[in-house]
C-alpha cells in the first residue's frame, strides 16, 4: 500500500489545529488571551489591538497584533495554533483594503488606531441601494 504523503502531513498538522473556528481577518480589533507562566503560577494575559497582518498557512499561520501602549506602538506576533493562546475574541471587524496594515506604523495619535468599521452584509446592501438611488436622482 502506498502512503499518501500529503494526507499524512495534513493529519499530523490537523491534529494540532485550534478546535474552534477562527473568524477574524486583517483590520479587525481582537483580544488575544495568552497563557503566561510566572514563577509557578499560570495566568491569562490579554493583548488587545488591531490585526495588521497574517502570514503563513496551516499550522504555521501567524498573525501580528498592533496596539498602543502608553503612546508607544507595540506589535506581537502570535502563532494561531499555539496551545499558549487560550482564545481570540473579535471586538469588531474593520474595513480595510490592504493585506498588511504597515501604514499604521507611521501614524500618530487618533489616526493610529482607528479603522473604519466593516459594514454588515445587510447594511452594505442597503447603503449600496441608497447610493444608487442618489446617483439616479442626480442623473435625473
Amino acid at each position: 500500500m502506498k502512503l499518501n504523503k500529503s494526507a499524512l502531513f495534513d493529519k499530523i498538522e490537523g491534529e494540532q489545529f485550534r478546535k474552534e473556528l477562527q473568524n477574524f481577518s486583517v483590520g479587525d480589533s481582537v483580544r488575544v488571551h495568552t497563557k503566561v507562566v510566572e514563577g509557578d503560577k499560570e495566568r491569562i494575559q490579554v493583548f488587545a489591538g488591531i490585526v495588521i497582518g497574517v502570514k503563513g498557512r496551516g499550522l504555521n499561520l501567524t498573525f501580528t497584533v498592533r496596539r498602543l501602549s502608553y503612546g508607544e506602538g507595540v506589535e506581537r506576533i502570535f502563532p494561531l495554533h499555539s496551545p499558549r493562546i487560550d482564545k481570540i475574541e473579535v471586538e469588531r471587524h474593520g474595513d480595510v483594503r490592504r493585506a498588511k496594515l504597515t501604514y499604521l506604523r507611521g501614524r500618530i495619535g487618533k489616526g493610529a488606531m482607528s479603522i473604519k468599521d466593516k459594514e454588515s452584509p445587510e447594511a452594505a446592501a442597503s447603503s449600496r441601494t441608497a447610493r444608487s438611488a442618489k446617483g439616479a436622482a442626480a442623473a435625473a
Partner: protein, 250 residues
C-alpha cells in the same frame, strides 16, 4: 544491543507539546520492514544479524540473484535490503516490524546519505576562509593558498584538503529524540533533521550513546521528571495555600 529499521524520509513539520513549545520534526516512514533472514552465530553465517527489507518493488525490477535470495526465504519483493548486527529483539523470517519498535522519548541515531553538492571548492567543502573580497585583492578570493613546501619534502602531503566532489556520503546524526510514534501509519516523528533528501532511504537505529537504561538516558529522563514534579508540586502547594486561606476565611 541495537534495534534498527530501514526508513524513508518523508519531510519535515513541527509539533506543539502541551506547554506550547514547538519542536521541529522529521517525518520518517519506517515500515513495514520485512524480516528476510536471521543469521546465527552457530549457523552457517557465523555471526548474529537480522536482514530487513523495506518498500515494495516489482519483481521484474530486481536483479535475479536478489529475487532468488528473497524467494529462498519466502519474502515479498522489496526495494531496499539492509542487515542489522546483533538485533536485540527475537524475530523470525516473515515477521513484520514497524514504528512500534521504538517508543516516545527514546533516542535514535539516524543514518542517511548526504545530498550531493558536485565538485566544490575549498571554501564550501572544507570551510577555508579564502581571500579578501576587497582591499585591493585581485582574483584571489576563494583559493586555498599554498599546499606544500619546497625541495623538502618535495611533494604534497597526503590527505591535504583540496577541491573535489562533495556530498553523497553516509553520515550519522546521533542522539535524536523520538517525539511521536504512529504505528497506524508506520511513521516516526524524530526531533531535528538528519542527512538525506526527502524520499531517501535511511537507517533508524537505537542510539549508541543514549540507549535505554544507559546512564545518560536515565539522567535525562530523571531531570525531566524532576522538573515536571517540581511544577506539579508547586501547583499543588498553591492549591494547599488556597485551601488554607479559604479555611481561614471560614
Amino acid at each position: 544491543m541495537p534495534l534498527g529499521l530501514i526508513g524513508k524520509k518523508l519531510g519535515h513539520t513541527r509539533v506543539y507539546n502541551q506547554d506550547g513549545i514547538m519542536t521541529p520534526v522529521t517525518v520518517v516512514q519506517v515500515g513495514p520492514n520485512h524480516v528476510i533472514q536471521v543469521k546465527k552465530k552457530d549457523g552457517p553465517d557465523g555471526y548474529e544479524a537480522v536482514q530487513l527489507g523495506f518498500d515494495e518493488q516489482k519483481e521484474s525490477r530486481l536483479a535475479k540473484p536478489v529475487v532468488g535470495h528473497l524467494k529462498k526465504f519466502k519474502s515479498t519483493a522489496v526495494k531496499e535490503i539492509r542487515e542489522f548486527r546483533n538485533f536485540s529483539k527475537a524475530v523470525q523470517p516473515g515477521d513484520l516490524l514497524g514504528a512500534d519498535l521504538f517508543a516516545v522519548g527514546q533516542f535514535v541515531d539516524c543514518i542517511g546519505t548526504t545530498k550531493g553538492r558536485g565538485f566544490e571548492g575549498v571554501v564550501a567543502r572544507h570551510g577555508f576562509r579564502g581571500g579578501d573580497i576587497t582591499h585591493g585583492a585581485k582574483g584571489w578570493h576563494r583559493r586555498s593558498g599554498a599546499i606544500g613546501c619546497r625541495l623538502f619534502p618535495g611533494h604534497v602531503n597526503r590527505g591535504l584538503k583540496m577541491p573535489g566532489h562533495m556530498g553523497v556520503v553516509r553520515r550519522t546524526a546521533q542522539n535524536l529524540e523520538i517525539v511521536q510514534v504512529r504505528p497506524e501509519d508506520n511513521v516516526l516523528l524524530i526531533r531535528g533533521s538528519f542527512p538525506g533528501s526527502e524520499g531517501d532511504y535511511c537507517i533508524i537505529r537505537e542510539a549508541k550513546k543514549i540507549s535505554i537504561g544507559s546512564k545518560r538516558f536515565t539522567s535525562i529522563h530523571d531531570a525531566r521528571k524532576k522538573a515536571k514534579d517540581a511544577a506539579a508540586g508547586a501547583a499543588g502547594k498553591k492549591d494547599e495555600k488556597k485551601a488554607a486561606a479559604a479555611a481561614k476565611k471560614k
